[in-house]
Symmetry: C2
Subunit: 226 residues, 2 copies
């Protein structure tokens, strides 16, 4: 399958590498290819500069947001939450129309010295904003509740633990569930319901961040027990 | 120990019954004692009218919010979230001063036909509103992430699963942790940090509600796995 992965940060890289390793065609999208490749400093998570990382990824192509979206049959939004709508506009509505758009971003807002807040929450969500802006895309929210490495390798945390999916398009959601289960190896995918339920998955992030602080690692997840 | 439990709904009743069974003195508080006892219809969760329920609880007293707060060394806010500040004002700042105030309420707002929202969230929480309104109370947020029966009987869900505590007063928080562990039987109490972390516990509620819908029962909880 052909994937267009928007965003070249740790989430975009982790997903692209995994999808390529699984044999898929992957095009990563960034705003400005030349500028992105010209960077020589480590990225903000301490990873190698994009060009260096990309040189080791034979099966991953780099293009603009527009080129990546045009190349993909499935589009993954791995851009920072507050930059997502801009990136998707650059990708172009015509390149998203009719396609499954997997939104794994969180609308995190940071103010130095203040607890993290969400740029949208409660009566709306980033996923719904994206769906309203691109009504012909088939938006599915998922994977935003776990750290990047765990998204594509859930076995890094032993036992059963869950990710969630939200979306209005049943077929698109089923396709994403197959990707999560059959390709990434998730053993518990919980369908929360329509896209309004993405609010609850996004509003989990403050608790996730506090739990990460308490536990000293992002490599954890929640199991639902009953 | 002497407990003042504000609120006579399912949460207030469940906690009062458990605390009395553990040998504590419990005074439940309500706005208007006569009106509360005059009701003959089942409560809104299908439980018996308050007078009938109370007749079976030899060790639980009923009083006004003010009487309950005055009688308790530890105060528990089990009033509906959006009514909590009013109830605490009726209880009286002088009856809360210096006391541990356990806030287990959620600021849920319901609009018919719309997904549930929170009346306060993101850059503030009900717990912080209460702390600001009653600066001499020692507010600890906890238990708001599980259903009432599970609060006092965590073994209803097998295995290890967690509740959270948030608060600015370390001694008050330690006292509440002892209550949770030694008296209610919790085996995993996670200290999220200061009272601003109550935001994250309150913002978990939308996900909790969606999970309750999906699973068809409120008798579940989250386990943190790593």
């Amino acid at each position: 399958m052909k994937f267009g992965v928007l965003g070249t940060g740790v989430v975009g890289r982790t997903l692209s590498e995994k999808l390529a390793a699984l044999g898929h065609d992957v095009t990563m999208g960034t705003r400005n290819v030349e500028a992105a490749l010209a960077r020589t400093e480590p990225d903000r998570f301490g990873g190698p500069p994009l060009g260096e990382w990309l040189a080791a990824q034979e099966a991953v192509q780099l293009g603009t947001f527009e080129q990546a979206a045009a190349a993909g049959d499935v589009i993954i939004n791995a851009v920072a939450g507050t930059a997502s709508l801009d990136a998707l506009r650059a990708a172009g509505a015509e390149n998203l129309s009719g396609k499954v758009l997997v939104d794994i971003s969180n609308p995190l807002g940071f103010t130095p010295g203040e607890p993290m807040t969400l740029a949208v929450c409660n009566d709306d969500s980033l996923a719904e904003q994206i769906q309203r802006a691109f009504p012909e895309a088939r938006v599915v929210k998922t994977l935003n509740t776990v750290t990047a490495r765990l998204m594509v390798e859930p076995g890094l945390v032993p036992g059963e633990h869950s990710v969630f999916v939200s979306g209005d398009d049943t077929d698109a959601k089923a396709q994403v569930v197959r990707l999560l289960e059959d390709e990434f190896g998730w053993n518990s995918v919980i369908d929360l319901g329509d896209l309004t339920t993405a609010r609850s998955a996004e509003m989990f992030l403050p608790l996730w961040l506090n739990l990460m602080m308490v536990q000293g690692t992002p490599l954890f997840n929640v199991q639902i027990v009953k």
